[in-house]
Symmetry: C2
Subunit: 282 residues, 2 copies
């Protein structure tokens, strides 16, 4: 059986035309690796409840990775974070140009929904997945988070508003990944519990990123670090020590909540999650 | 019964948050009017075959208008056409800023699929509509067309390649509008015929735009005109006279093809289409 990474590489968007670099630009950031954290969450849930569906579930996982990847490409644009590096590679607007980065982002955004519309699921499941991905990855989710982040650059927010920012910018897509797994295996009784767990996990993830931004070098992170001073990061607002305590607190809560997961779900997700949950401690 | 314009205004994206201008920016270009040509095509088909479905069909028409509107916002960005004016209003990156224009475009792109996933259609119909919109509005459709257009700025193309450019950039979404109408009323026997008609109609539309770009003032057009010199427009490649002949030829073909439409479809679409088909002659 192929793994998800092979599936992704075998299903890169095809587009042959007179444009000499368009297709390679579409592939560039998808092939650049990354942790594939969101796909792993979705696939973990599917494996726990119905391993036979794992290859179909790759389509759902791919759609999430497409949406996540487009958001990275647009976040890195000169008008936004103006980042030269992502996933250890030059960003698209550096390797190609700004027009290409905008259009490739647009294309991957739309392609996520094309992939879901053609996935080997029932129409009912497809529609549920599309609803979940679009509502969490769109104007009242990921995009809103980025809009708040950019608007309030250089304008310090209260901690509660920073949580709103990152719930939207990061946590909702992570939460949706778990919930979409539950939808695929028709375990909708646990969908909301997993979603809420995912929101907390996403917040922890962001606090950790903010911590690593000040403690890791650019080379270790594969993206520009030490560039959050003007941003509403947990570290700039709380300070490193308090951000660490907040991360520890959330980590304990999450490990505690995982105890109530079904055994098969614990088996599939625990070891991966515990590694993530503790990554700020190294 | 409300008309489509009222439906659109009643269903503008809602997003209340600490961001003071995000929601108004989301509304800005949707409220700015425009011809609503693509919605009118979809709704014309629906009205011809099943007028009872017209209010449900507004959801499909709205999704197309969302995708079209996001594409205008991104096409107008400083990195692309750098246009100050659209639909008679200042463009988003002028009224707000570039970040806002990028993010609002992203949000409307995703929202189109959220709207379809929640529309009052069967799941089967929803999936077909999502497939149609994403495949024509995405990486092998509208986005590819814009990529080719930008890449070959200042590099003159052959006329056949210009047709490929505009088939993707403009015609596929127009063709999809007619086909999506046929899907909604379950007249899939005419879906491909309508699609092919729409491709020709879209090409004519583009030739006309290129003609009007040199013959209309900015004020008449509601957008910057006389700015296609570096572009692969039909007029820059063929000259105005030949572009006019090409437009006349296509117009005749389309009027001829319309004769084979079912009577009810002719009744719904003919007068609107004939006005459009002849608009370059004034």
């Amino acid at each position: 059986m192929q793994n998800f990474e092979q599936f992704l590489l075998n299903n890169l968007p095809q587009s042959q035309s007179i444009h000499p670099t368009y297709e390679s630009a579409l592939h560039n950031m998808l092939k650049a690796g990354g942790k594939r954290f969101r796909p792993a969450l979705l696939l973990g849930v599917v494996k726990a409840y119905n391993p036979l569906l794992i290859e179909s579930a790759y389509h759902g996982a791919y759609a999430i990775e497409l949406l996540h990847t487009y958001s990275l490409i647009h976040d890195d644009l000169p008008a936004m974070d103006n980042s030269p590096l992502r996933r250890g590679h030059p960003t698209l607007h550096v390797s190609y140009d700004e027009v290409t980065a905008i259009l490739v982002g647009d294309a991957l955004n739309t392609y996520a929904f094309e992939i879901l519309s053609e996935a080997p699921f029932s129409d009912e499941t497809k529609v549920k997945l599309i609803k979940e991905l679009s509502s969490n990855g769109g104007l009242n989710g990921m995009v809103l988070g980025q809009a708040i982040d950019c608007y309030f650059e250089n304008k310090p927010l209260e901690i509660e508003d920073i949580k709103i920012l990152h719930t939207n910018k990061t946590a909702k897509l992570i939460a949706a990944s778990l919930k979409m797994g539950a939808i695929i295996v028709a375990q909708e009784n646990i969908a909301n519990e997993l979603y809420n767990f995912g929101i907390k996990l996403g917040l922890l993830f962001q606090i950790q990123d903010d911590i690593l931004d000040v403690t890791q070098s650019t080379q270790e992170a594969g993206k520009l670090t030490n560039n959050d001073e003007d941003k509403n990061s947990f570290v700039t607002i709380l300070g490193l020590d308090k951000a660490m305590s907040e991360a520890n607190l959330l980590a304990d809560e999450l490990i505690n909540e995982m105890q109530s997961f079904d055994e098969s779900l614990q088996r599939e997700l625990s070891s991966m999650l515990i590694t993530y949950i503790n990554r700020h401690k190294n």
